[in-house]
Amino acid sequence: MTLATATARSGKRSGRRSGKPPDHGAWFLVLPALIPILVLSVGPLLYGIALAFTDSQAGRTAPTRWTGLLNFRDLLHDTLFWESFRIGLLWAVGVTVPQFLLALGLALLLDQNLRFRWLARALAIVPWAMPEVVVGIMWRLVYNPDAGILNETIGDLGLGDGRDWLTGLGTALPAVIVVGVWAGLPQTTVALLAGLQNTPHELHEAAAIDGAGAWRRFRTVTWPALRPVALAITALNFIWNFNSFALVYVLTNGGPGGKTRLPMLFAYEEAFRYGQFGYAAAMGCVMVAVISVFLAFHLVARLGGGEDG
């Protein structure tokens, strides 16, 4: 509703500024998108938040009641949830940080005049275009203890016997994190490459002529120009990773023993396996609260770096 009034107002204002009569046509252009957004996105989101304060359950015959903060109180004592929350944070950091470093390296390489860089650019698209489910299946084939290439390579290199990576208590989370890094590398690389191509070449040459070494030029010229994009993409990546589902669902389905049970997997099970809609919605709310912090960070980075926000 506030969005709608803002529309009308801004429409009038910009119409007046350019000396034309207020243009009501803008309304007809906006409505086709605005209605589905409000009905199927903003509405359900508010409904979802409301559900967190109820005892809504699948197949419940009695009417749903308001239970206030009860779900949140239960959540506070739900050690399984906090364990999955901890795993979610570990996973999000574990994926986002290496992803950023690798993508930065790749972007710097692709920014060079190297032969075969077209090949890297073309290949970098593959993980991006693949369905997450296929990425998960593909890596299960790689990790397969008997027929997989990973253990075979480890054996060939004489590095030991190899293991059952995805079902080992200690190896499952790292193994899954590697897949997460692989899957998200293209988007991050493309974003950073764009940032690099926005850095002023002249400054670079000037610094080189002044005798600045490679590392110094990176620190004083490249990085300052890249920083806004880097911060924005890192914050977004963190959020996306924290919310991810399909990849880990296919790889381990949360196992072994919940060692890779991300919050989304936990909430999904709670809602659609056990039918605890209200409780799962409360989990969603807690996740939103955490994500908001990073979202605020992202917005600040964007506003600080963009031309007109």
Binding site: G48, L109, P131, G309
Partner: protein, 294 residues
């Protein structure tokens, strides 16, 4: 790993000066090779597995190149799961969602790009925020609403969800494309006496068309690849989309028939890869336009 990180440093500088020594160059190529291997090997392994006969998959020492390549896995995959049906469902869901998303998003993107006001700010804010929803908070109410409308287990219900889900990114890309159309062209048309609608249809739309197509294809791929909503909303195998049906190959205890699994997974990727190869440049530039400038 070490070669990668150390070369990161030496590379940052040389793009126009070319002053790096041959050792630096060698390091760069080594790093590039490392990336190529990292990016390519899982995919090559998938292809290799898809063409291996059962007895090679059972052997203890798997090889990169199948010794006796076969198409049996593909045949078996189609026998085991309703892949054609699932592909058709995916096609219908993704194509309808993409078409509707583009049709409703283009006019709004136009307004967002041309009028800098609170609408543009609010809409941009929504685009960013909607990227961050934990979908579970969205899917529970949508599930309840669609259930009361009897739209669970229907492709129509899924399409509705996909439209809204792909709108933020479609808007993001389209705003970038609209901004790339020079305002002067529209003003010139107005001076020549063309009405607002006429200008939009005969001047702006043709220039926007490639961007609209790219956005539509991107929306198509994201819907084709989507899993979570499809998993929750589609219950019976004859209604399910390809990604959901693929997970049936995994079996209950995670024990999978590797050959057919690989074959089916490989097939499911081909449409996305093909479309992506065609529009890759446009997606990248459109995404960047949105990411860097909006």
């Amino acid at each position: 790993m070490t070669s990668r990180t150390s070369s990161t440093r030496s590379t940052s500088s040389t793009r126009s000066t070319g002053s790096t020594g041959s050792w630096g160059r060698a390091g760069q190529y080594l790093a590039l090779l490392g990336y190529l291997v990292f990016l390519a090997f899982p995919f090559l392994w998938l292809i290799s597995t898809a063409f291996k006969p059962a007895r090679e998959l059972g052997s203890l020492h798997p090889t990169w190149i199948p010794r006796h390549p076969t198409l049996d896995n593909f045949r078996q995959a189609f026998d085991e799961q309703p892949l054609l049906r699932a592909g058709l469902n995916s096609l219908v869901a993704a194509a309808s969602a993409a078409l509707i998303a583009v049709v409703v998003a283009t006019p709004m993107a136009y307004v967002m790009a041309r009028r800098r006001g609170r609408l543009a700010t609010a809409a941009t804010g929504w685009v960013v925020v909607s990227q961050a929803f934990p979908f579970v908070l969205l899917i529970i109410p949508l599930f309840l609403v669609l259930k009361s409308l009897h739209l669970i287990n229907s492709v129509a219900g899924l399409v509705m969800v996909y439209v809204v889900w792909s709108l933020p990114f479609a808007l993001w890309m389209l705003v970038g494309y609209v901004r790339a159309v020079p305002l002067e062209l529209e003003e010139a048309a107005a001076v020549d006496g063309a009405g607002r609608l006429r200008t939009l249809v005969s001047v702006t739309a043709p220039l926007l068309a490639p961007g609209i197509v790219a956005t539509g294809l991107f929306a198509f791929i994201t819907a084709w690849n989507e899993f979570f909503f499809a998993l929750v909303l589609l219950k019976t195998p004859e209604k399910q989309t390809l990604p959901v049906v693929l997970t049936h190959f995994l079996g209950a205890e995670g024990a999978a028939d590797l050959g057919p699994l690989a074959a089916a997974a490989f097939l499911a990727t081909l449409p996305s890869l093909a479309v992506f190869a065609v529009i890759q440049r446009r997606i990248t530039s459109g995404m960047l336009a949105g990411a860097v400038k909006s």
